[in-house]
């Protein structure tokens, strides 16, 4: 592999990710099937690329026309249509730009995870798609597994800036017709939205057999609501202002957040959706550990 210089995936991340080969077994469906390429030809096979022959490769896959031209043995590889597609939904709304106690904001955190996951998926020749959304779909990258596709994804992640209000439910609804094959749906968001609306939007995916993973990303201060006295809170998405004395509502905030996360967890459990809560101070690799 050529040297990678991306913001959201570093050499140490790659080295670490290589250990997660098995770790994403649950995350990426059909991992094993990804390791084992389908030999079947058909309309569903797509030429992928030429690869130099290595001892042990199937001679049937050698492209003799290329040999005739170059006098070298190259294998023609094909993308096999399997049930293994990883669809990443990254929330790029304004609230994802919040950062207080964490080293990075939530969008960066999500981008790091999304980049790593995309690299992991594509490194196994599986396909990954990316949707960047806020109140609408900003960008949609169809499922792909090529390096060029990965490059596009990583570049898009680097270019994103948090802004605009959130509407995850709307984004999921709009994205549904765009995703043709079922697979794994990973939603990276701070989920400041009505849980019921979110899960209502997920229902079509669940009905189609998608495996859904909800990764709830928050800054630690959004959970603890630290003391900051009388402050004028300005909503990053709506610019709505609210003067609050944090001392008076801190406990209520914590309780409300607990209630919100518990609601998400409950609804997720009821639909066999995976739900994980993390903060920007925790390593995103823990998420991979979760599924090890």
């Amino acid at each position: 592999m050529p040297e990678i210089k991306y913001k959201f995936i570093r050499p140490e991340d790659i080295r670490r990710l290589s250990r997660y080969e098995f770790g994403v077994k649950a995350l990426v469906e059909g991992y094993l099937s990804g390791r084992h390429r389908s030999r079947e030809r058909g309309a569903s096979i797509e030429f992928k690329e030429f690869r130099q022959y290595a001892p042990g490769d199937d001679l049937a896959l050698v492209d003799w026309r290329v040999f005739a031209r170059t006098d070298r043995h190259y294998l023609k590889t094909f993308e096999q249509e399997t049930n293994m597609e990883c669809h990443l939904f990254v929330d790029c709304s304004a609230s994802m730009g919040f950062q207080e106690e964490g080293p990075i904001n939530k969008l960066e955190y999500a981008s790091f995870f999304a980049a790593c996951l995309a690299w992991l998926v594509t490194s196994k020749n599986d396909r990954v798609s990316l949707q960047l959304f806020d109140d609408k779909i900003r960008q949609f990258f169809e499922p792909g597994s090529t390096r060029r596709h990965l490059h596009q994804i990583l570049t898009a992640l680097e270019q994103q800036k948090a802004g605009n209000p959130t509407s995850l439910a709307e984004a999921l609804k709009r994205a549904h017709p765009l995703i043709k094959r079922k697979g794994t749906l990973v939603v990276l968001s701070d989920f400041f939205d009505e849980p019921e609306a979110i899960f209502k939007a997920l229902n079509p995916y669940l009905h189609r057999g998608f495996r859904v993973h909800l990764l709830h990303i928050l800054d630690p201060s959004e959970l603890s609501f630290p003391e900051r006295g009388l402050s004028r809170f300005v909503d990053m998405e709506t610019n709505h202002r609210l003067v609050v004395h944090t001392q008076t509502i801190r406990e209520a905030w914590q309780q409300e957040m607990r209630r919100h996360t518990q609601t998400l967890r409950r609804l997720a459990a009821g639909r066999q959706v995976d739900y994980a809560l993390t903060t920007t101070t925790e390593s995103w690799f823990k998420l991979f550990d979760r599924f090890a």
Binding site: S95, M96, F98, K106, D190, F192, D219, E222, R228, G229, L230, S231, R232, F233, V234, D235, M236, E237, T238, H240, R241, L242, V243, V244, Q247, T248, I249, E251, A252, W253, Q255, E256, M257, R259, H260, Q262, T263, R266
Partner: protein, 696 residues
């Protein structure tokens, strides 16, 4: 009580009381901005907790508003005033202060009068009146100002300086004076009576007050005080002659519920005598001291007891005018009357008695009233009855010998008796004087003796009781008036003829006038041998001495508080007369011209004691002023029983004065503001307990 604002011009400030509300509603603090991921959750939380915070917010708003209003009220100078304080116009108060003798009593360290003055001073200082005056209740009520005035300081000073007087109080006069002054002013009028409300003085004194004058009665002195007083002192006879037995009568009274024992001291004519006396509770005792005066003139005497808690009435003075002689005026009968010799007999009689002076007057001429001690009318024809009664009323004892033709009616009229039937001419009985029949040598006539009704114990016959002087009516009488044998009660029979015909009757004139003696015993030698008898002289002397008018020397006594006066006579220069008190201190006098001549008055009213009008070193005349006896009974009455007015405690009166002036409330409002702010701080620290949201 009323709530007033002394500074209503600042009432608009109360609009600032809306500031806390406006601040609460609109003011927004400028806290630091903080970009946050989502305020939706915050809003949700705020909505939930608002239900808990709102009551706290309301309470905070209320406390802040109240604190602001309380502070604003301070500028308005709120006052708490009495109910009538809103009455516009001047407030005039007259303090009627009892200055009578009973107010000298001490309930504690200070006298009642001092207490009354102190309370009046406090009320004046409280500033409840715009104009005020003080009217004294004493013998001659007067006021410090002729009308109520604003110079309250002067009134306060006068109250401090003035002392109580040993006088009785003319309550009605003082009330009238105060009311007359109040009726002259407009606005709020108040009369404050400060008195001990002595029962003896106030019992029958209702307060008849015109409408529009509020009356408040403040009782001074809480308890009835025990007292023993020298109640009366006099001499009888009031004008003894030199050497005559005179009785000094002294009466004491115990004004307490327990029997008392004390010692009475009598001082007279340079001497001093004492006697112990016991008195029952609320009782009286009389002590008599017998004396004889050795020289003529005004003699002062006094009686005193040991000093008690109320010493003003522990001494009493008396004056007795000792006469050198008594004056007998003998009005001669007509020259042809058989009683013509009577005047000679009386003249001889007077010559034999040192103390008797006899003056003859022609027939039908009468002396000036009060100029004689005795008036003997020989052969009275029943005329000039009114004149004779006038003379009798002035203290002259009339001795009337009816003449021939005098009617019984005239006698009865003169004696003040009811005229009965058959009151025509009194028949005259006459005897020849020669013996008859069996006793040719015994002169014929009537004999007389002490009337059975009088008895030998009658004072006039005391000298004859021993029998030494024989029959006071010894002798033979050849002529008499046939007076009726029956006489009404009140007529004393002294001498009767042996056949029961009255020989001498007497009746005492009312109103301390002289006696009237109906003389039916001829003294002329042609008509009786009585005057030649030995008992005649002593009997006549006793008769005169025991039938003098029972008068007291009242013309020399004045009531405390009244002016001492003396008309010295034309021969005395008024400028040479000096009035001195019992301590020998000269007193100021005024010389006045009156229809009766020059009169010298004391400039100041008399207080208790003996006063002498002196010319040079000699005492020309004496007068005295005794403690008013009515003031000795120190029992008090509840002013509630006095009709009219309202009884008020002195403290309550001061409180009303303060209310009248208005009690400033601003300190209370400042305190209230601080309390509200303190409460606001405590409430703002209170954190409502957030409710636990149930898990779905």
């Amino acid at each position: 009580m009323q709530f007033l604002l002394a500074n209503p011009a600042w009432l608009w400030l109360l609009a600032l009381g809306a500031v806390p509300l406006l601040v609460h509603l609109f003011a927004r603090s400028n806290p630091p901005r903080f970009a946050f991921s989502s305020t939706a959750f915050l809003q949700k939380i705020m909505k939930k907790t608002a239900r808990l915070r709102k009551p706290q917010d309301w309470l905070l708003l209320l406390l802040r508003t109240l604190a602001v209003l309380a502070l604003l009220f301070v500028f308005l100078q709120p006052l708490l005033t009495g109910a009538n304080s809103a009455v516009t116009g001047k407030k005039t108060t007259i303090f009627l202060v009892d200055r009578s003798a009973s107010m000298a009593a001490k309930d504690g360290a200070e006298s009642r009068f001092a207490e009354a003055c102190a309370k009046a001073g406090e009320l004046l200082a409280a500033g409840s009146a715009d104009a005020a005056n003080v009217v004294w209740i004493d013998a001659e009520p007067d006021a410090l100002f002729p009308q109520p005035g604003p110079n309250l300081d002067y009134l306060r000073e006068a109250l401090k300086r003035t002392g109580v007087r040993m006088e009785s109080g003319a309550i009605s006069g003082a009330l009238q004076l105060a009311i007359s002054q109040l009726e002259q002013v407009q606005g709020e009028r108040r009369l404050v009576i400060l008195s001990d409300f002595q029962a003896a003085a106030w019992r029958d004194t209702p307060l008849h007050l015109p409408t529009g004058i509020a009356v408040e009665k403040v009782r001074i002195g809480a308890t009835d005080l025990s007292n023993v007083a020298v109640h009366e002192l006099f001499a009888t006879p009031a004008e003894p002659v030199v050497g005559q037995d005179t009785l000094m009568v002294c009466r004491l009274r115990n004004y307490s519920g327990t029997p008392r024992r004390t010692t009475l001291y009598l001082e007279s004519d340079g001497g001093r005598r004492s006697r112990d006396v016991e008195m029952p509770a609320w009782g009286e005792a009389e002590l008599n001291f017998s004396t004889r005066f050795s020289h003529a003139g005004q003699v002062a005497f006094s009686a005193s007891i040991a000093e008690d808690a109320f010493p003003g009435d522990d001494r009493r003075y008396g004056l007795v005018r000792v006469r050198e002689t008594l004056k007998l005026v003998s009005v001669a009968p007509p020259e042809d009357s058989l009683h013509a010799q009577g005047t000679q007999v009386l003249r001889h009689l007077a010559d034999s008695l040192e103390w008797l002076e006899c003056l003859d007057l022609p027939p039908s001429e009468l002396p000036a009233p009060g100029s004689a001690d005795f008036l003997f009318l020989h052969s009275w024809e029943g005329t000039q009855i009114n004149d004779l009664q006038s003379i009798s009323r002035t203290g002259t004892t009339l001795i009337v010998q009816p003449a021939v033709g005098c009617s019984l009616q005239a006698c009865q009229q003169l004696m003040g008796l009811e005229v009965g039937e058959n009151a025509g001419t009194i028949p005259i009985d006459t005897k020849s004087g020669r013996g008859s029949g069996d006793s040719p040598t015994t002169p014929a006539g009537w004999q007389a003796g002490i009337a059975a009704a009088a008895g030998e114990d009658a004072p006039v016959f005391a000298l004859f009781k021993s029998g030494e002087f024989g029959n006071p009516a010894a002798g033979i009488f050849l002529q008499r008036s046939r007076l009726p044998r029956e006489w009404p009660e009140g007529v004393q029979r002294l001498i009767d003829y042996q056949d029961g015909v009255p020989g001498m009757l007497s009746i005492h004139e009312k109103n301390q006038g002289g006696s009237i003696i109906l003389w039916n015993l001829p003294v002329a030698e042609r008509l009786s041998s009585w005057s030649a008898q030995t008992p005649f002289l002593p009997f006549f002397a006793e008769l005169l001495l025991h039938h003098r008018a029972v008068t007291r020397e009242e013309s020399t006594e004045v009531l405390p508080g009244n002016t001492l006066s003396w008309i010295p006579g034309e021969e005395i220069s008024p400028e040479s007369v000096v009035l001195v008190d019992g301590a020998g201190q000269p007193q100021q006098t005024n010389i006045l011209m009156t229809p009766h001549g020059v009169r010298i008055d004391s400039a100041e009213p008399a207080s208790t004691g003996l006063y002498q009008w002196k010319i040079g070193d000699g005492v020309a005349f004496q007068q005295l002023a005794n403690f008013p006896a009515t003031e000795s009974d120190l029992r008090l009455m509840d002013p509630l029983h006095i009709q009219g007015g309202e009884v008020v405690d002195a403290r309550a009166l001061l409180r009303r004065a303060e209310l009248g002036e208005g009690i400033p409330l601003w300190p209370w409002f400042i305190a209230a503001a601080f309390l509200f702010l303190l409460a606001e701080s405590l409430v703002s620290l209170w954190k409502p307990r957030p409710t636990t949201t149930p898990l779905r």
